[in-house]
Amino acid sequence: MIALVPGLLPTCTAKQPQVKGCTSGSRKNVGCMFLSLRTTMRLLTHNMLTSHVKGVTNGYPLKLQAENIKVMSVDFNPEFVARMIPKLEWQALVQAAESIGHLGDLPRELVPEYESNEEFLKMAHHVLMEVEVIEGNLECPETGRKFPIKNGIPNMLLNEDEV
């Protein structure tokens, strides 16, 4: 069981992050009301990903290589971030953020009582939610297999000989 962060209000006001101020939809071919939103991969997602190539025993975390990064302002919700943190592999987050030059002042170790440390939560929020990879690669640390990220969508499909 993942322990819920103590001290949270019973009525959590967390909201799914909404991208603000993004006007250039890269996928113009899809005509819909969400045209202004661009598909991106956030570091929160990266934290859940692991190499699934056959035979790999040490496929986590995937090395992140970003060719196109956007930083977008996303509503900050301290409760939401506080609840996400225990689900994360912190070192992997630090490593990924550092590899694309967006670690900022984020502490390399999880600070105690972070749930009440708004400054810390804001930094975590920034790295988790606001740094978006549009183009790049995810590389298996063991085999070197690269999974491309195109238009913010990682393609994690394996070839026949990799499953």
Binding site: R27, G31, F34, R42, T45, A82, M84
Partner: protein, 454 residues
């Protein structure tokens, strides 16, 4: 080719490739969240991480904004549509999810597992879902049911046609997932008549049916063109929907009841005309009438493996008419409805109820072979061997773009208890909490439990 390879090829041709082709059209018919799925998502705790495996166009990804959802789909086009709506998505295979163990609080698999062509692959798909969910987390799985009130399947492994609308065919030809004139404003949708999803596909059938007499692909070509012309006449979506709302047409009448008469065009026409007359009298009288008309089928025992005379005739007749009778929409309860029409090809009867006891997969498979050996249709043949021999010569040239078989999706429709049985027998770390039928689907909600092996 071995069984696994056949299955992979079948899934590629009749699941992955089809979704790639129909993605824009498919997406436009999928926007209403099924109530039970919505409920499941809503009851997840704030801050939960949820995996939507096989997310399609992402219609569940914006439910419960207090959680973080990660969508995935094998179909790049659908993932792109979901992504363009601001959701976090990726392209991956349900059988090899690129997620670390125990990292999600919940996972949903809606209308996905029925697309795997062998029992081993269905089990593997479910095991992957269980692997990525933490102990104590829940998994919800929906699969299409064999037992359906208005549809009869001749076997559990079927090809279900997708009726591609003409203007989507055109956009597919340009190879862009374009949604022409189909911009759907969500708020508008919500305020709209509940039946507004009785959408385009039915409209096209309305406009096409009376003049149709399809016995070949070439006819279909002309047909598509005429459909294109007709659809351009009534291109304005709200008008189309409005007309259906006014009619109060709850049943996709042509598809749901008319498909048995496919081969009898004249009979169909008279039925058609009658149906049109019935429209103004409301749906009750209409339903009564058509229910009588299809009595022979409605009273047939669908769980019976043996094909009786009626269904044989039906299959035979319908194989001559390779088209239409397809429903691409969701029914009034928001549950996916697709009709196995004449093109429902019988592939095999594979999952006998005798397989319910705990057995290794290999043993089940052998028993299934045995069951198949006794069944009327396929002998002991492999599902895809049979399929390919009958329908796709491996050396044959690729089908023409107009080939309707390109729009047939493979389904393994589940018998009552089959989904729960698979989990109980083969997925040790899932404990079933709920097992229920929800509008043509079997659904299981299961909790991941810690399994201690000594």
């Amino acid at each position: 080719m071995d069984r696994e390879q056949h299955s992979i090829q079948l899934e590629k041709q009749h699941v992955h490739d089809v979704y790639d082709r129909i993605a824009p059209h498919f997406s436009d018919t999928r926007y209403k969240a099924w109530p039970q799925v919505k409920q499941f998502l809503m009851k997840q705790e704030p801050g939960s991480l949820i995996a939507d495996v096989g997310c399609g166009n992402g219609k569940y990804l914006d439910i419960n904004p207090f959680t973080w959802k990660l969508g995935s789909d094998h179909c790049n086009s659908l993932a792109s549509i979901a992504g363009s709506r601001g959701h976090e998505v990726m392209v991956c295979d349900n059988l090899r999810l690129p997620y670390r163990d125990n990292c999600f609080d919940a996972a949903i698999s809606i209308a996905v597992v029925h697309h795997f062509a062998t029992v081993e692959r269905r089990v593997a798909a479910i095991r992957e879902l269980a692997r990525v969910v933490r102990p104590g987390g829940q998994v919800m799985i929906y699969v299409w049911a064999l037992e359906q009130t208005h549809r009869k399947f001749e076997a559990q492994d079927v090809l279900v046609p997708w009726h591609m609308q003409a203007h989507y065919l055109q956009s597919t030809a340009h190879n862009t997932p374009k949604k022409q004139k189909k911009v759907k404003d969500k708020s508008k949708r919500n305020n709209h008549h509940v039946q507004d999803h009785q959408d385009s596909s039915r409209m096209s059938i309305l406009s096409q049916r009376p003049s149709s007499n399809q016995h070949s692909h070439s006819v279909h070509k002309n047909h598509s063109q005429s459909a294109l012309q007709q659809s351009s006449k009534c291109q304005e979506p709200s008008k189309r929907r409005g007309s259906f709302s006014i009619l109060g047409l709850n049943l996709p009448f042509a598809e749901r009841n008319g498909y048995h008469w496919n081969s009898e065009t004249s009979l169909f026409r008279s039925l058609w005309n009658n149906s049109m007359e019935q429209l103004s009298q409301g749906e009750d009288s209409y339903e009564k009438r058509t229910a009588t008309s299809v009595e022979g089928f409605d009273h047939q025992n669908v769980t019976n493996n043996k094909t009786n005379g009626i269904t044989e005739a039906y299959l035979k007749a319908d194989r001559r008419t390779r088209s239409l009778d397809i429903e691409n929409t969701e029914d009034s309860d928001g549950v996916e409805v697709s009709i196995p029409n004449g093109e429902t090809r019988e592939l095999q009867n594979k999952y006998g109820s005798a397989d319910r006891a705990r057995k290794p997969l290999e043993q089940i498979r052998q028993e299934q072979e045995h069951v198949r050996g006794r069944s009327h249709s396929l002998g002991g043949e492999d599902i895809s061997e049979k399929y390919y021999r009958n329908h796709h010569k491996p050396e044959a040239a690729p089908a023409e773009p107009e080939d309707l078989s390109q729009y047939h999706r493979y389904y393994h429709v589940f018998r009552e208890g089959e989904l729960a049985g698979l989990i109980e027998e083969h997925v040790e770390n899932l404990h079933i909490l709920q097992d229920f039928y929800d509008h043509a689907n079997w659904c299981v909600i299961a909790e991941k439990v810690q399994v201690w092996t000594i």
